[in-house]
Symmetry: C2
DNA sequence: AGGATCGTTGACAGCGCTACCAGCAACGAC
DNA sequence: GTCGTTGCTGGTAGCGCTGTCAACGATCCT
C-alpha cells in the first residue's frame, strides 16, 4: 500500500515540465546545464519555473546524482580573528554559487578533526577545505582516498593532499626577527600561546634565526598551551621579563599577545621602542591604530579563504589550477613599536597602514 | 534500461538489515528510534552496522522523510567578534546532535536576509536562528508561515515570531549612562559605527537617558554607517572633540571604538578618566587588560548562542520551553576608565574581571 | 545523394531511505 | 475461551530527481 503522506505541497520539476510542454528530463537539464537546451525550450522552462515559483529539491537531487553540492570546511577555531577573516573570504567566494558550506570546528584537536572528516566524507561533499598540514595518519589516509578536490589552507608544506594555499610561518617569523636585527636588537624574546602547529613553526623560525646569529637562549622563549588573549600577552611578557630582564625586543606569535605586551609595558612604564621593541603577527586592524603603532607580519587571510574557495570550485568544475600549491606570502609591516628611526607619533587617526614599509616579500621562493 | 552507474560502493541500510537478519525497515527504525526495537534485534542491528561501517545516507533520508536535519543560522557579520562568540555558542550546542548548521551572512542587509531566508525555507530546515527583530515585511511573512521553530537572537522586543533570546540594548545603554552620571559626568558624548538596528537602539537609550537628565545635545552624538574598527574609534572621537571640546565622557557603541578612543586620548595626552571617561559595549576580553582598564557593558554572547540552539533543538523535538522570550540581561562592568575613585593601576596581568563591580542587572523587568 | 556527425530531446529505471498500514504473537480482561 | 490491547516486525510504494541510452532531425562532408 502506498503512503498517504501529504504531498509536500511544493511544486515539482514535473509540474514545471508540464506547464512548459517539455519532458521532465529537459526541465531538469535546464537547471543544471541550460546551454544544452534550445533557446525556445529554455525560455519556456524558465518562465514556467518562475510562474510556479519552482525551487529544486536538493535532497532528491543529491540522492539521484550521488553527489552533494556541499563544501566541507574544517577550521580549528571560531573565536580567533584570524579564522573569521578566512571564513569571510570563503563565504564571499561561495555567494551566488550553487554550493553551500558546511562548517565545523576542530578546536585545535586533530582527533576531533579526524572524527569530523569521517562524518563529512560519508556525505560525499563536492569539496573540502581543511586547515593546515598536520593531520593524523588516519585523517591523511581518508583525505588521500577522498574522491573530491581538497584545499589545505593557512600554510604551505611538502606533500599536499591535493591543493594548498598559505604561506610559510617559518619564513615569516625569520623575516620578523631579521627586521628586529636590522633595527639593532639582539636580545629578542619570543612569546607564544596555544602553540598549535603554525605557532610552533613561527617559534621554529624564531629559533633558527636566533641560532644563525648566535643569539639563541632557551630562556628567551615563553610559551603556553593556553588559548591566546590580550591579558595572556601581558602575563607571558611578565614571565619573560622575570626570566630575562635584559631583553630589548619581543616577537609575539600573534597580535593579541602583542597588544597585551604593549599594555603591560605601559603599566610598567617601559618605553616602546626605546627600551623594548614589539613585533606581532597577523597585522590585525588595531595594530596600526595603537599607541605606539605596532609592527606586525601581515598575512593575507581574507584572500587565502577567498582564493581557496575559488580554486576549489574550479577544481570541482573540472578546471584544475596550473599550480596546486599557492604561496600567498607575507609582509613585515614596520611601525613605531620596532622603529629605531623614532617616527613621530602622528595623529594619524584613520588610514593606518598607508605609511607602512614593506620589509619582506612572498615566502618560499626556494 | 536502468542506469549503469557504479553503485556508490557504500554500505546501504539493506545490507545491514540482511547481516542482522531483520527487515530493512527494522534496521531503519534502529537508527531513528532504537527504543522501539526488542533488545535482541537492537543489538543485532547495532553490531551489524558497526561491522559494516554503515553510515546513513542523509539525502535519501531527507527525501523519504520530507524533512532535513539542518538548522539555518542567519547572522549579519562574520568579522565581528560579537558574532563569533554567539556562533561558538551555537556550534557547541549542536555538537554531537544529529543536526547540522547552515550558516549565512546577511552583511547587515535586510534584503539580503530576505533572499537567504527564501533560500533556506525552500529546503525545509528543521529550525531557524535569525538575528534581531528588524525584518522586511516579506521576511516576516515567510517566518510567520514557516513550519519550523524559529529563534530570534541578539535582542528582545515585541511580537516575537516564535522564540526570542537577547537583551535590551536600549536599557543597557541607559544603564551605561546612569553609571556615568553616578560618577559625576554630565557632558557625555556618544560615538557609534555601522548603526545597525541594535546600535541604533543603544543610541536611543543614550538619548533618552540624556534627555531625562536635561543634558541631551545633538552635537554630542557622532555616528557613521562605516563598519566599526579601532581606527574609526579614534577618528570619531576626534570629530567629537572638534564639535564639543568640553565633553567629560564618551559612551562608545562597542569596544573596538572604545579602544580607538583610548589610543586617541593617549596620542593627545588626555588623561583617562580624569579628563575624559570611557565606557564601551560588549566587554570583549581586552577591555580588562587595557591601560587604563576600560569600563564596558557585558553581554552574554556565548550563552545567547548556546541557549538559542538548545531551545531550538528542544522545540524541534517537541519540547517547547515554558517562556519563549528570554532576557539574558547585561552588566555594566566598572573599570578604571570611568571610575572617579581612581583605582590604582595594579599590575593585574591576568584575571581581569575579578575586581569588576556589577552595576545593573538583567534588563526588561518592566 | 548518401552517410556521418552534431545538437537536442525523451523514456526508463532507479538513488537509499522511510510513511503507512497490516500482520502477528503475547498478554490481560471479561 | 474469546476478545481487545499492546509491542514488535515486515511489505509495499513511493519521496523528486538524474544517469544512461536511444532516437530524432538538422547539418556537414565526401
Amino acid at each position: 500500500m502506498g503512503r498517504k503522506r501529504t504531498k509536500s505541497g511544493k511544486i515539482r520539476l514535473a509540474e514545471v515540465a508540464e506547464l512548459a510542454g517539455v519532458s521532465p528530463i529537459t526541465a531538469s537539464r535546464f537547471f543544471r546545464n541550460p546551454e544544452a537546451l534550445s533557446v525556445a525550450k529554455r525560455t519556456r522552462v524558465e518562465s514556467a519555473a518562475n510562474e510556479l515559483g519552482y525551487v529544486p529539491n536538493l535532497a532528491a537531487r543529491a540522492l539521484a546524482s550521488q553527489r552533494t553540492e556541499v563544501i566541507g570546511v574544517l577550521i580549528p577555531s571560531l573565536t580567533n580573528n584570524v579564522f573569521s577573516d578566512v571564513l569571510r573570504g570563503i563565504y564571499d567566494a561561495y555567494e551566488g554559487s550553487r554550493y553551500s558550506i558546511q562548517l565545523s570546528n576542530t578546536r585545535y584537536s586533530i582527533l576531533q578533526e579526524e572524527r569530523l572528516l569521517r562524518l563529512f566524507l560519508a556525505q560525499k561533499p563536492a569539496g573540502l577545505i581543511v586547515t593546515g598540514i598536520d593531520q593524523t595518519t588516519e585523517s591523511r589516509a581518508m583525505l588521500d582516498a577522498a574522491d573530491c578536490p581538497i584545499v589545505q589552507i593557512m600554510e604551505i608544506g611538502p606533500n599536499p593532499v591535493d591543493m594548498m594555499i598559505g604561506f610559510s610561518h617559518y619564513d615569516a617569523a625569520r623575516a620578523a626577527i631579521a627586521h628586529l636585527f636590522a633595527q639593532g636588537h639582539r636580545k629578542i624574546g619570543f612569546i607564544g600561546a596555544r602553540m598549535d602547529p603554525r605557532v610552533q613553526r613561527r617559534l621554529d623560525g624564531y629559533v633558527s634565526a636566533m641560532k644563525d646569529a648566535g643569539l639563541f637562549e632557551q630562556r628567551l622563549v615563553v610559551t603556553t598551551a593556553t588559548p591566546t588573549s590580550v591579558t595572556l600577552g601581558g602575563a607571558l611578557f611578565t614571565d619573560l621579563l622575570a626570566r630575562e630582564p635584559g631583553i630589548d625586543a619581543v616577537f609575539c606569535a600573534n597580535d593579541d599577545l602583542a597588544l597585551g605586551v604593549l599594555f603591560e609595558c605601559r603599566r610598567r612604564e617601559i618605553a616602546i621602542p626605546e627600551q623594548i621593541a614589539i613585533v606581532g603577527f597577523n597585522d590585525l586592524e588595531f595594530m596600526a591604530s595603537a599607541v605606539p603603532t605596532l609592527t606586525s607580519v601581515r598575512t593575507n587571510r581574507y584572500e587565502m579563504g577567498n582564493k581557496a574557495a575559488t580554486m576549489l570550485i574550479e577544481a570541482i568544475d573540472g578546471r584544475r589550477p596550473e599550480q596546486s600549491v599557492l604561496d600567498l606570502g607575507f609582509k613585515v609591516i614596520e611601525r613605531q613599536s620596532s622603529s629605531s628611526r623614532h617616527q613621530d607619533s602622528r595623529p594619524a587617526v584613520s588610514g593606518g597602514g598607508a605609511q607602512n614599509k614593506m620589509v619582506a616579500l612572498p615566502s618560499g621562493h626556494d
